[in-house]
């Protein structure tokens, strides 16, 4: 599966849940939203090997 976040991209092998994928790319699940095919996903959703998931950063401010 392909995971993108800002200008970064990862290729992960096999299936895994959204929460595990986020942790695997060393992000904090609380700080992102996962979107597949334009739809938001909860953290328990199982991702398949061909899925493309975009992680949206939700933290802003300064």
């Amino acid at each position: 599966m392909k995971i993108t976040y800002r200008d970064r991209e990862w290729e992960l092998q096999g299936r895994r849940r959204v929460r595990d994928a986020i942790k695997e790319v060393r992000l904090i699940p609380q700080t992102v939203l996962a979107v597949r095919d334009g739809k938001l996903l909860t953290e328990d959703v199982m991702l398949e090997k061909d899925d493309e998931v975009k992680l949206i950063a939700v933290i802003s401010g300064g």
Binding site: I28, Q30, T31, V32, L41, I59, G61, G62
Partner: protein
């Protein structure tokens, strides 16, 4: 995971509330919770005029959207700080706000722009560099300018209240920082509603601070982002270039790590703080500062003479504000 209210797939699981909702029910919940917060904290009534400070980001545009949906008289204010060139951060943010207003012709949202360079002759980066305040970063000057302009436009425009899109993550990051440094005065003043205050004047200046409210103060940042994404609000995704490495972002990260380990940590930190504040744990009276109207603009200042905003422009250039 399924929506608690129907059998459709949930789009957001809010662990701190033990609540997962589908798109339709999430939007309903979000709008209802905003309305509830406005009433609970007595932020403003249905007949009052609200000015929403909009930055082009997800929080402020979502707030403006919800207030318009709820039928409030809500106008927008965008302050163009001139960050970046003609295609830079400020220009891109302003475009998002213009697009938002243009996409809602039925609501007739009124949208005011204060262009710093056009009104005062300098952009934020220029004035920050000239006054050398903030150790090379313009954030403190930015805060000073925004507070002044927002208050001025609220008062001059005859608005009853100024609304900002601060969310719970913003509030707990500020609270966390103030507790770490025991900034008791700031802790005592932190609230979903900052009441209007009047600057005492012998010269008849119409000084004072407008009432400020934060209707999103109980939402986690991921909830406002989810609302913006689901409703298709086109907000500025990029961070302000000066926010990189900001202390508040570090605090947010620490708090989110704690939230991961122990859901509802942020919510409890904030709500229990509000409860303690209401119970009188923090003494506002001891920290109260007498406000005087600025001798140039009439806005409140804690010292006699010129306010910090007017000193920015007058002391160093001799220019009139």
């Amino acid at each position: 995971m399924k929506c608690r209210k129907c059998s459709r797939p949930a789009v957001l699981n809010m662990r701190q509330h033990n609540l997962a909702l589908c798109e339709v029910h999430y939007l309903e919940w979000f709008v209802a919770q905003t309305h509830r917060a406005i009433k609970k904290y007595r932020m403003f009534g249905p007949d009052e005029r609200v000015l929403v400070a909009v930055s082009g980001g997800k929080d402020s545009l979502a707030l403006w959207d919800v207030l318009l949906q709820l039928g409030y008289q809500a106008d927008g204010l965008y302050i163009d700080l001139g960050i970046g060139n003609s295609t830079g951060y400020s220009a891109a943010s302003r475009e998002k706000v213009e697009q938002f207003a243009a996409q809602r012709p039925d609501a007739h949202p009124v949208f005011k722009v204060v262009d710093l360079e056009a009104e005062y002759g300098e952009t934020l980066p220029e004035v920050a560099q000239r006054v050398r305040r903030g150790h090379g970063k313009p954030c403190s000057v930015c805060g000073l300018i925004k507070r002044h302009v927002m208050n001025r436009v609220t008062r001059d425009g005859g608005y009853d209240v100024l609304a900002t899109g601060h969310n719970l993550d913003d509030e707990v990051a500020v609270l966390f920082g103030n507790v770490l440094h025991w900034q008791t005065g700031y802790i005592a003043r932190q609230s979903p509603v900052l009441p209007a205050s009047v600057a005492r004047s012998e010269t008849g200046h119409n000084g004072g601070l407008a009432r400020k409210v934060k209707p999103f103060c109980r939402f986690y940042e991921r909830e406002t982002a989810a609302y913006a994404l689901i409703t298709g609000i086109n907000y500025i995704y990029d961070e302000c270039p000066y926010a990189v490495g900001a202390t508040s972002l570090r605090y947010k990260e620490i708090l989110n790590r704690m939230e991961e380990e122990s859901p509802a940590t942020k919510l409890q930190f904030y709500l229990k703080f509000l409860r303690a504040r209401k119970a009188g744990f923090f003494c506002e009276r001891a920290e109260e500062v007498e406000l005087h109207p600025c001798s140039n603009c009439g806005q409140p200042t804690s010292v006699s003479g010129l306010c910090a905003f007017c000193r920015l422009w007058i002391r160093t250039t001799g220019a009139e504000v």
